[in-house]
């Protein structure tokens, strides 16, 4: 889970770059940049959940 989340984050970044390269018009570009950030946010959530300690586990 933790690695999956960290792999999703660069995918969001490439979506942001694609928005710059593919959409010269502002509205589509803004929408795709925001989508890229949303994907990064999703990846961060997955990474955070992957690093959370399970309840009842033998913690250090």
């Amino acid at each position: 889970m933790k690695y999956a989340g960290l792999l999703v984050m660069p995918a969001g970044f490439f979506l942001t770059l694609a928005a710059l390269a593919l959409f010269p018009q502002s509205p589509q570009r803004v929408a795709f940049v925001v989508c890229g950030l949303a994907v990064e946010g999703l990846g961060l959530v997955i990474a955070v959940r992957g690093h959370m300690l399970p309840r009842g586990a033998n913690h250090p």
Binding site: V34, H59, P60
Partner: protein, 440 residues
């Protein structure tokens, strides 16, 4: 002066001697911010690790400075090399994407470089010193000194130069305005991205890899409170940091925004206003939530306000800066609580929130309040680069490093305290050191 040094092919705009002297003086005051953060790191850890924390602050700064001089400064590219190369670029969608610098090797020709380039390199030295302190503070009480120094090597040789080149040395983020008509390109006048967001995200990677302190998250019940051992260090660190921050933001405004001297008083006032609004907001919030203001959270709030001001103090108006600081002051205690209680993140210095989150918020706010059209989008692209490239890259490099130089001290060492285990002597030899059980 190096008589063999070549003249840079594209010198930066000329800077008068008076402005050079002023920026140099400001940059000589700026290390007070580093000293303040070092005191905070020490005060927020436990008493049995205090000497280790403070020595570690010095050690990671020393390692980072040397590695940056030997390797990092070349990859940052602020000091033009003998060939005058602008760095490594590739072409896509009809635009040039400059992604890595190729500056002067080991600072050769520094004395002959343009004044602005010399000051830029000095600014970057201070920035890398601050950035490596942040993960060190978050790993307090279990992060080995050797591992701390090794993370400083990675940050100062690879990660910081990459980000600093993109943002300050003509990289693709700085060129967003020219290439894609996005405002003035990504703006980061005081290191909100290159220092604080980068350091905060690195702190998150360290905390994830090293794991929580022993006994922090017991099998049953809530997380164990492990308060900082010296609130006086923490609060004095905030005061010291404020002095350094005023100089840091003023120097950054001249260097990276080409701000006129007349803009500096307002930049300084905005820096103080942001911190003031943040601490007042945190004070009220903790008073309402806990019945009494919390000293360490208020210190974190003050620092979060300073961090947020690093991005927008020279851009926003005083009223806007107060808003920026107040928001930072409100989310800081809430996010600290969320990270600890809900997300199992044991971050003694609070760097993930105070530097990471507040840095990102400041960068967003700079776009929100900047007068240029398209600036907000440029800031969002920069934030996307920090989250989408820097965090995964740092995590990957740190995870590999952890296999070679284990981050975490062994259980006996943690029980004994880092001072005795790694240094052989404590910071307070005449004090009684509390055992873990006393926290329950």
């Amino acid at each position: 002066m190096n008589p063999l040094a070549s003249i840079p092919s594209a010198p930066p705009p000329a800077m008068s001697e008076g402005v050079f002297a002023l920026v140099l003086a400001l940059l000589l005051i700026a290390p007070l911010a580093i000293a303040g953060v070092a005191l905070l790191n020490t005060g927020l850890g436990r008493s049995r690790s205090a000497a280790h924390a403070l020595l570690g602050n010095l050690a990671v700064v020393a390692v980072a400075a040397m590695v940056f001089a030997l390797i990092g400064a070349t990859l940052t590219g602020s000091l033009p090399g003998a060939s005058g190369s602008a760095g490594f670029s590739f072409h896509a969608a009809g635009k040039s994407w400059n992604w890595l610098g190729s500056g002067s090797f080991q600072l050769a020709g520094m004395g002959n470089a343009a004044p602005q380039a010399q000051l830029a390199v000095l600014f970057e030295f201070l920035s890398v010193a601050m950035a490596v302190l942040l993960p060190w503070g978050s790993g307090a009480d279990r992060f080995r000194l050797a591992a701390g120094c090794a993370t400083a090597v990675i940050l100062s040789a690879i990660v910081f130069p990459l980000a600093a080149h993109w943002i300050w040395a003509g990289g693709w983020l700085a060129s967003l305005g020219v290439n894609f008509s996005l405002g003035a390109g990504f703006l980061d006048m005081g290191g909100a991205a290159t220092v604080h967001a980068l350091g905060g995200l690195s702190a998150l990677a360290v905390v994830w890899i090293a794991g929580p302190r022993r006994g922090k998250f017991p099998k049953e019940g809530l997380s164990t409170a492990m308060p900082g051992h010296n609130a006086a260090y923490v609060l004095f660190g905030c005061m010291l940091a404020s002095v350094g921050w005023l100089a840091w933001n003023a120097a950054g405004a001249i260097l990276w925004l080409r701000a006129p001297l007349a803009a500096l008083p307002l930049t300084a006032i905005n820096t103080l206003l942001s911190a003031s609004a943040a601490i007042v907001a945190t004070l009220i919030l903790t008073r309402v939530r806990f019945g009494k203001p919390d000293a360490s959270l208020c210190a974190n709030g003050w620092l979060a306000g300073l961090v947020a001001s690093s991005a927008c103090a020279a851009i926003a108006t005083p009223a806007e800066t107060i808003f920026v600081g107040a928001v930072a002051g409100i989310f800081t205690p809430l996010l600290v609580e969320l990270l600890e209680l809900a997300l199992s993140v044991d971050d003694p210095s609070g760097a993930v929130t105070v530097h990471g989150a507040a840095g990102l918020w400041g960068l967003f706010a700079a776009g929100l309040f900047a007068p240029q059209p398209g600036q907000l989008l440029a800031q969002l692209v920069g934030i996307a680069a920090l989250l989408g490239v820097i965090l995964p890259l740092v995590y990957l490099l740190f995870a590999l490093l952890n296999r070679v130089v284990p981050f975490r001290v062994d259980p006996d060492g943690e029980r004994m305290g880092m001072d005795l285990h790694e240094l052989g002597g404590g910071a307070y030899p005449e004090f009684v050191i509390h055992r873990d059980e006393s926290y329950r």
